[in-house]
Amino acid sequence: MRKICIESFGVKVNISTEFEEDFLQIEKILTTGLGGCFRIIDEVNGGFHFHIGGKEEKALFLDGEEIYKGSQDAVMEVFDSKLRVGIACRADKTFIHAGAVGWKGKAIIFPGFSYKGKSALTAEFVKLGADYYSDEYAVLDEKGLVHPFPKYLSLRGIIDDLKQVDTPVESIGGKVGKDPIPIGMVLITEYEPGVSWNPEFLSQAQGMLEIVSHTVPFSERPAETLKFLKKALDGAKIIKQKRGEAAEFARKVLQML
C-alpha cells in the first residue's frame, strides 16, 4: 500500500493505492492536474480519501465507497477530474469554472462549460504573450484577486479532436503567472463559426447573471457568493461576444486592453 497526503487550497486529501505503478501516475497527476498547487502533509484529519484498489478490474474509491471501476487509464482519468472537483468544492477560495490569463497586470477570465473551448482560447492568449493562470478554474481569494492554478493545458487536436492531451504551458511558449491579480475583463463567449465582431458590453449585474452558473460554491452560499462576485467584478469590463477562430478572437480581445 502506498499513500500520500496533500493539502490544496485548504483541502486535505488522502490518496492511497494498492498498486505501485499507480503511485507514479498519482504523483504525475498531482503535477499535471493541480499545477503544483498543493503541499505534502503528514497526516489527514478530515478532508476526503481517494483509494485505488480492486481485483480483476481497477476501482476508485471515495471515502470507502466505490465510485468508478474500469481500466487503469480510465480510473486515473476519473481520479484526475474528481480530485479537482473535490478541491474546488471545499476550497478556502472561490473557484469559477473559467479559463484565466493575465495581461498587463489584470486577469481576463472566460467562464464556460466543459468542451466549450476554454483551453483552446487560453492557449491562444498565451501564445500572444498573456500569462497563464488556468484553463479550467479561475481561483479567487477573498479580495477578488485571481490566483494561478496552472494545471497542464488540456488541449485537443494533438492526437485527435476528442482526446485531451495534458500540455505544459511552456511547451507552447507560455509562462505561468506568478502574482494574484484583479479581474480586468470577463468574456462571455462561445464558439460560433463565421460570427462577426460586435462585442456587447454588459453591466455588472448582467455579468453576474452570466457568471453565477459557473461559480462552484454558488448553490451552497448564494448570498456570500453574490456579494463576493460584486466585489471581484468592480472595475472589470464584461463583454459578451461569440467567437469564431480562437486565435483571431484572442487578438481582438487583447487589442481592446
Binding site: K82, C89, F113, A205, M208, L209, L226
Partner: protein
Amino acid sequence: MENLRPIARREDIVVQEANNELLVYDLRNNKAHCLTETAAFIWNCCDGKNSIQQIRQKTEERFDSKVNEDFVLLALEELNREGLLETPIETGFAKISRREALRKVGVAAMIVLPLVASLSVPNTALATACCFGLPCTSPAQCTPPCTTCSGGTCI
C-alpha cells in the same frame, strides 16, 4: 388598477445590488434574475402601500422622466412572470408578446426599460452546484460537474 397595491416577494430570495441594478436569486426554483435599474426601482416600490399611479409618480421623480402607466405595468408583468411578486396581478401585458409590449412602452420611454433577464441556474450551470459527496439515489439528483451518483454520493 387604482386598488392594486403590489407586494414584492422577499421570502426565499437573495438580493445583491450592483450599480443600481439588482441580481436576485430565487431559492425556490434556483433561478437568477437581473433587474434593470428601473425594474429594480419599481420592484422596491412594491410594498403593498403604493398604488400603480403612485409607483408611476415615484418612478418619474426618481428618473426625472415622464413615464406612463404601461411602463409600470410592463415592469410588474416582468416581475409577475418570474414570480417576484407576492401575488400575481393582472397587468394586461400577459397576453401580448414581450416584443409587442416593449414596442408599446418603449416608444414613449426615455429611460431604461424595466426588464428582467433570467437564467435557470440548475439547467444551465454545468459547473455550479457543489454536489461533490452529497447524498443521492440517482444521477438526476447530482448537478454537474458531479455527474455520477455512486455509492450513495454525487461525484
